[in-house]
């Protein structure tokens, strides 16, 4: 019985529609890999120890491995609330949606850690479902959609989707926003847009993305900006469909709500930005950052292992998104491309660190890979490579070695 036959048979027997079954399969298979890899790596490999390398629940390795690095901030927010001290790394840098969900579920799960892992994994499943739906909508091909969800779920840094991080929540809300925008269901897009704008600072970019889709409906695009017909369509759209635009303009309320809270509580509406200096991040632009990274790599001795490996993987992820972004413009449209490029250009303007994690939520990348994966060899190569590196990076992550 071929794999394809299996894939067809299971949903048929369970009477589960494809748009649930296939993402569920991707979710289950990949989560088994990462959970097993995480557990095994934690107990088998002596990890790094030291000040600040906490263990949120040393009595439960299954949960404990999912709280590393920035997870501490989310746990702190969910358990004790926001903290802001000028000049110090303050938790106000992290947007509220995810820790709010953690705090709301803590009475049910018994701990903020368990709530965080639960929210992350549920959100991942939801993200995969919407990714399947969106990809099927754009490519009208279920095989492409299936590959897209598998690629995203098996991406080398997809362990973040299960960790106490915002990746899966943001992915769910961003993909859902785009899905409804592409379906021209502006109110549903606005609903998820408000939520994604309160999940990460870059979430407010979805406002522009949805706005571009509205403009596209009325004949205005960036590539036809020079045409009179484009502007005539725009004005007509304003006259006839202003209520949709007004609904879209609700999206920034997610960000504004957080800013109002910061202003009322700490007297600084952009405290999330003010506190960034405590992390030593300086906006110098992508060219400077890339140049610095290349200089750092110049003297590397690959044969002796004397190399900044994270610079290599981060720059590779950036290059992948950049290359795919150009292709996206032609295949998927400018809103997808702009979302992808902004998602990586903003972070890389202050450093390439964690680029592999930022690339994780560039969902158009996986849509495009899903389309390219129709070539069987490429599909197999990607799945093998992604799965192997997913295991390796998971092991690195849970042992308190910074990967992204």
């Amino acid at each position: 019985m071929t794999a394809q036959a299996i894939r067809r048979a299971i949903p048929a027997r369970l009477n589960v529609p494809d748009w649930i079954a296939r993402p569920a399969l991707a979710f289950i298979v990949t989560r088994l890999i990462v959970f097993f890899a995480a557990y095994l790596a934690e107990i088998a490999i002596p990890g790094v120890v030291g000040d600040g390398l906490y263990h949120a629940n040393p009595n439960n390795v299954f949960l404990d491995v999912w709280a590393r690095w920035d997870s501490g901030f989310y746990l702190s927010i969910a358990e004790r609330g926001y903290f802001f001290q000028l000049g110090q790394q303050s938790s106000v840098a992290f947007f509220p949606m995810y820790p709010l969900l953690m705090a709301a579920l803590t009475p049910i799960t018994g701990s903020a850690l368990a709530a965080g892992v639960l929210v992350s994994n549920l959100a991942l499943f939801g993200a995969l479902v919407f990714l399947y739906l969106l990809t099927d909508l754009e490519f009208e091909d279920r095989a492409t959609a299936t590959r897209a969800v598998f690629y995203m779920a098996a991406f080398p840094t997809a362990f973040f989707f299960s960790a106490v991080y915002t990746e899966s929540t943001f992915a769910l809300l961003a993909i859902a926003t785009m899905y409804f925008a592409r379906r021209r269901l502006w109110a549903w897009a606005a609903l998820f847009g408000v939520l994604v704008a309160s999940t990460r600072i870059v979430g407010v970019v979805m406002w522009g993305v949805v706005g571009l889709e509205w403009l596209k409906v009325h004949g205005w695009t960036l590539s036809t900006i020079h045409k009179g017909s484009s502007w005539r369509g725009f004005w007509q759209g304003l006259r006839m469909d202003w209520h949709s635009l007004a609904i879209i303009y609700l999206i920034p309320l997610g960000l504004i709500s957080y800013m109002l809270y910061l202003n009322n509580t700490f007297g600084d509406p952009i405290a999330f930005s003010t506190t960034q200096s405590a992390w030593g991040r300086e906006m110098v632009g992508p060219f400077v950052i890339i140049y610095r990274d290349l200089v750092n790599l110049w003297g590397a001795d690959v044969w002796r292992g004397d190399i900044f490996y994270h610079i290599v993987v981060d720059l590779a992820a950036f290059a992948l998104v950049l290359f795919a972004g150009v292709r996206m413009w032609r295949r998927l449209g400018e809103s997808y491309a702009l979302y992808s490029l902004i998602s990586v250009l903003i972070p890389i303007s202050s450093g390439s660190q964690s680029m592999t994690r930022y690339a994780l939520v560039v969902f158009p990348l996986f849509m495009l890979l899903g389309w390219w994966g129709r070539y069987e060899l490429l599909d197999r190569a990607l799945m093998v490579a992604f799965s192997v590196f997913l295991g390796i990076f998971t092991a690195i992550f849970v042992n308190w070695i910074f990967i992204a």
Binding site: G87, A187, A190, V194, L195, I247, Y261, F266
Partner: protein, 586 residues
């Protein structure tokens, strides 16, 4: 609305509204830190920051107790504060006063009172200094629920940077008054908030606070409970350094005197137990110290050069914010000399002398200045290099200076007294003769009938040189000054005894070292007795004094400065108690 419209628009908008409400409710409930009970302090409350650091609640800025003061050093941001959890009742009459000093030109220190919150400036009153253009004001008012400030008034005040001001408020149940140095400036300002905590605040400035006092004015005295372990502090033993009382000391560590230094030019950085001047592009970058000093003191600085070689000290500064009206001693930035002089009120520098010294390199050296009401003496690495140099300015602050160099200062000590050995150690280097160092000085023992010259290693322009000369039979001693080289008399002026003819004579060596006499005067020298020779050189003139008696005055002097040496005709001739002073009027 149709079912389709509800599904497509109504329902999501409803969910959006619910989501926004849930988001905001969650922010202000689940994600807002629960208030931590804070023990409130009763009145009276007094804090001098010289014991255990108090537990205040800061809401911005970098607050630290240093040098027995509470210092806020972050200049980025407005209204950075720390709250003192005193509990003034709503109907209280009390005064809140604090000594504050701005550590730079930026002015913005002040206080908070009747604060309703213990974690922010919301709902509190504020009084602080403010700079508007070139003028300084006191502003007062209240922060509202949204932390926005509503001013209630302002008044122009005169306060110099670095000056300590005692800022305060006198609070009544309905009004308050503004106090400066104990005097009311404005009275009966209506209160917005009644009772609450107090605090300190800075805005775009580095400020040092001391002697906080929150004191009830009327009603029964509130006696603060004295902790059982509290005792009357014993008078601290006077710390001595080398037998002198320590006036000021700084090792620039975390407990050091960050608050005492006022940089006025250059880039001064506190760096892991040192104070560094890091700008090597300019001259005479300085930092003054606000500590007031007596008229007699010894100022010692241990420092090293990380780049260049122009480091040194300022002393007798009129103010710690400027090198004008201050003395300076430092390495010459482009030569191996130590130079000294003073800046006048306009900042114009007048040199008073220099001396060749070994290249400082990057090693640590100790530069010491012994200051009396009239003069000062300089020592380098424990060795005196000058005699008494007259003071031109008489301020009472010290400082550090750096020219074209990066210097790292590790320690500063100031002690009372100015005990200094003004006897110079002469390491005579002679091109001829046999020169030996004795316990009391130097002796030349060659006996040929010729002039033997040895350089002392000191150079001066205007000076007073005293030496006790003991001459053997037929030998004659003297001095050579303004030589062109360390131990070559060429270009120098010689003054020497001729005991055979019972005269003292003088003249000049030309560039080839050929002596040409210019004059002589009779002098009776007792046999087998030492004679005190004193030469006073001024611009274009010099005097000869023997055994305290003026032999000749205002002899024309062609040279302007140069090396000092000893001259011995035949021998033995001993030179003892050599003292060098700058332009001392006899």
């Amino acid at each position: 609305m149709s079912k389709a419209q509800f599904q497509q628009t109504g329902l999501p908008l409803l969910l959006l509204a619910v989501g926004l409400v849930a988001l905001n409710a969650g922010l202000y409930t689940l994600l807002t830190a629960a208030p931590v009970p804070i023990p409130r302090l009763p009145l009276p409350y007094i804090e001098a920051f010289d014991g255990e650091p108090p537990v205040y609640r800061s809401f911005g800025g970098d607050w630290d107790v240093r040098d027995a003061q509470l210092v806020q050093i972050n200049t980025v941001g407005l209204d950075l504060g720390t709250l003192i959890p005193v509990d003034a009742p709503a109907d209280a009459r009390y005064t809140l006063e604090v000594d504050l000093r701005h550590m730079s030109d930026a002015v913005g220190g002040g206080l908070i009172f009747n604060a309703q919150q213990l974690n922010s400036r919301q709902q509190s009153h504020m009084l602080r200094f403010n700079r508007d253009g070139a003028e300084t004001f006191l502003i007062w008012g209240a922060f509202g629920d949204d932390s926005d400030f509503t001013g209630q008034g302002s008044i122009r005040v005169d306060i110099a940077p670095g000056e300590v001001a005692r800022l305060g408020v006198a609070v009544n149940p309905e009004t308050y008054s503004v106090l400066l140095d104990g005097e009311p400036l404005v009275e009966s300002i209506p209160l917005v908030y009644r009772g609450g905590a107090a605090g300190l605040i800075t805005s775009g400035s580095q400020v040092a606070f001391d002697n906080v006092a929150v004191l009830p004015v009327d009603g029964p005295a509130v006696v603060a409970e004295v902790a059982p372990e509290a005792e009357v502090a014993e008078v601290a033993a006077v710390v001595e350094v080398d037998g002198e009382a320590l006036v000021y000391s700084d090792t620039f560590d975390s407990a050091g005197g960050v608050s005492a230094w006022t940089p006025f030019s250059g880039t001064w950085v506190f760096d892991d137990g040192a104070l560094r001047q890091t700008d090597a592009t300019g001259f005479d970058f300085g930092a003054g110290n606000i500590t007031g000093l007596p008229s007699t003191y010894t100022y010692s600085v241990m420092f090293a050069h990380e780049q260049g070689q122009g480091g040194g000290v300022l002393f007798n500064m009129a103010t710690p914010e400027s090198k004008n009206n201050a003395h300076m001693v430092r390495y010459v930035h482009d030569d191996d000399f130590l130079t000294w002089g003073y800046f006048d009120a306009e900042g114009i520098y007048t040199g008073q002398g220099s001396v060749p010294v070994p290249n400082p390199g990057t090693e640590t050296h100790t530069l010491t200045v012994f200051v009396t009401p009239d003069s000062y003496v300089i020592a380098l690495d424990g060795e005196t290099v000058t005699g008494e140099i007259p003071l031109a300015v008489t301020g009472n602050h010290i400082g550090l200076v750096s020219a074209q160099s990066v210097m790292r200062v590790a320690r500063v000590n100031v002690t009372t007294g100015a005990t200094v050995n003004t006897e110079l150690t002469v390491e005579a280097v002679g091109t001829s003769g046999v020169w030996e160092i004795t316990p009391t000085g130097t002796i030349q023992t060659a006996m040929d009938a010729t002039d033997y010259v040895a350089g002392t290693g000191f150079a001066a322009e205007s000076f007073a040189l005293d030496v006790t000369i003991t001459q053997g039979e037929g030998a004659g001693g003297g001095v050579v000054f303004h030589m062109e080289a360390r131990d070559n008399p060429a270009g120098g002026t010689m003054v020497r005894f001729n005991p055979i003819d019972s005269v003292i004579f003088w003249g000049r060596y030309d560039a080839e070292g050929v002596f040409e006499g210019a004059g002589s005067a009779p002098v009776v020298l007792p046999e087998d007795e030492s004679v005190d020779l004193r030469i006073v050189a001024r611009p274009a003139l010099f005097d000869v004094i023997v055994n305290g008696e003026i032999i000749v005055r205002d002899i024309p002097l062609a040279s302007e400065g140069g090396w000092l040496g000893l001259v011995s005709f035949s021998g033995p001739v001993a030179f003892d108690e050599l003292q060098l002073s700058a332009e001392v009027s006899e």
